[in-house]
Amino acid sequence: MKILVGIKRVVDYNVRVRVLPDGSGVDTDGVKMSVNPFDEIALEEALRIREAGDAEEVIVVSAGGDECQQQLRTGLAMGADRAIQIQTSESLQPLSLARAFLKVIEREEPGLVILGKQAIDDDNSQTAQMLAGLWDRPQATFASKLVLDGQTASVTREVDAGMETIEVDLPAVVSVDLRLNEPRFVKLPDIMKAKRKPLDVIPLEDLEVSVEGNINVGHHASPPQREKGIMVEDAAQLVQELKNRGLI
């Protein structure tokens, strides 16, 4: 079985992003770029499945300009067998991205597709669900546990009410939540090795995906800030203050 893992190049999660003064976007000039943290968890899970003998090959896929090869190389250094770049100068919205992924799926025929539950830049949380819908296959989103059993997978999902378990037939799309696993660190020799692993570049045009129906993203603003309030001295003052405000 092959496992396909999606990787997105995003502003590193430690960077405090700032809105540009003219509202045209956020300041990404010179900031550190990384693999979307949820995608690292997705890749880690795929690697563990391969190491357990339930998959033969792990392929990382990213869509973007050539700069995303950096994140694909990180994925190869973590242990993926090969990489595919869907080459495009456009920033693909989830529907177009899902359509492009589906074309890659038709070529590669993976048994499992694992994606992060959301990207930490646009926070859309859509691509996995859209891909499963277009592919007409099961989706198991926000996974915190994944157990393979032949042609099915049992997935425990983190939902608002608790933990839901569903069973899906393969092939399926899984989106992963934070607590599924802890991704391994990349070791230096692996970075060297990753340079020799295959990285195929497929221009988006070759996949015959039409990019249309985009949502227009306009003005960016900073969020309203909460003001610092008052400090009280002890529990009695706290109770009084809450009573004054009609909260208790």
């Binding site: 899902a98 926070d123 949380s125 989706q139 989103t141 306009g218 900073s222 109770v239």
Partner: protein, 312 residues
């Protein structure tokens, strides 16, 4: 005029408050508002939905394969109703986040995630970068708008309406490739974190699962839901589904009380819309005090019992 369909969230017995919040968002969009209730034996839920203000009608679809909200089944059912509507809305809870993008893909449109404000029928505000930026987005005018509604940004619509309930047969066939196995509910009798008017949260400073007991005790006294910081969850003091923050739950209670929580950005993101934030922390320099309405620097292990006894 807009025709808006809201997909109701419920557990088979009770309508989730997120649906009433979607109604408020739909009212801001303006137009005729219908609610679809899918399930198996959902008369009570449909009646609750019909009682929400400003609802035109409730469409109840009973079918065995719609009993649990598996996205594969519910998305197919929603898609088959889509042509009657200009807008399809669901809440930005794990339920809606699972379902609505699949609906959008089947309809063939992109989705707007997390509507926090409405500029116009096809123009919305939504947060990106964990709420560090707010963007204006506009859906193509001629296409169906599929969106999730950020529940923390909207008040629940009142329940004094009396809309008609239309029973309809399912128009989709079951997806055999996905099966519901079970649900493990944690938290027991306490109010649901997402809809509680008061929430009491504990952080790493609690120190152990056992010590976390004083948070539960105070919450029960206040009739509050219980939350936790990611640090407390990662340390194993309490279950995952109690986590408040960017990677956990984003909540907007009237009163939020944070005990022993330093106020990392990732946590603050989850409480920004709370009415009043109270913070108790040993460290007077803790960042949580920068956003708290009422701060108290001190030891939570002595303050909580005293606070509780003063409540009477």
């Amino acid at each position: 005029m807009s025709r808006i369909l809201i997909i109701a969230e419920h557990d088979g017995q009770v309508l989730n408050i997120s649906t009433a919040k979607c109604v408020s968002c739909a009212k801001a969009i303006g137009g005729e508002i219908d609610i679809a209730v899918f399930g198996n034996g959902i008369d009570a839920v449909a009646a609750e939905a019909a009682a929400l203000d400003s609802v035109n009608k409730v469409i109840a679809v009973n079918a065995e394969h719609l009993e649990t909200p598996l996205a594969a089944n519910w998305a197919a059912e929603t898609r088959n109703m889509a042509s009657d509507y200009s807008h399809l809305l669901g809440p930005s809870t794990t339920f809606g986040k699972d379902l609505m993008p699949r609906v959008a893909a089947l309809v063939g449109v992109n989705q707007v995630s997390d509507i926090m404000a409405v500029n116009g029928p096809s123009s919305f505000k939504r947060p990106i970068y964990a709420g560090n930026a707010i963007v204006d987005v506009e859906t193509p005018a001629d296409a169906t708008a599929v969106a999730t509604v950020r529940t923390a940004s909207w008040k629940a619509a009142a329940g004094s309406g009396n809309a008609a309930i239309e029973q309809r047969a399912a128009d989709s066939s079951p997806a055999s490739h996905t099966r519901f196995v079970g649900m493990e509910v944690e938290g027991g009798e306490r109010p649901d974190l997402q809809s509680a008017q008061r929430v009491v949260s504990g952080g790493r400073a609690l120190g152990s699962e056992e010590n976390f007991g004083i948070i539960y005790s105070l919450a029960d006294k206040l009739g509050a839901g219980v939350g936790a910081s990611r640090a407390a969850v990662d340390a194993g003091y309490c279950p995952n589904d109690m986590q408040v923050g960017q990677t956990g739950k984003i909540i907007s209670p009237d009163l939020y009380m944070a005990f022993g929580i330093s106020g990392a950005i990732q946590h603050v993101t989850g409480i920004k819309d709370a009415g009043t934030i109270v913070a108790v922390n040993k460290d007077p320099e803790a960042p949580i005090f920068e956003i708290a309405d009422i701060g108290l620097a001190g030891d939570l292990f002595s303050i909580i019992p005293e606070f509780e006894s003063l409540l009477g």
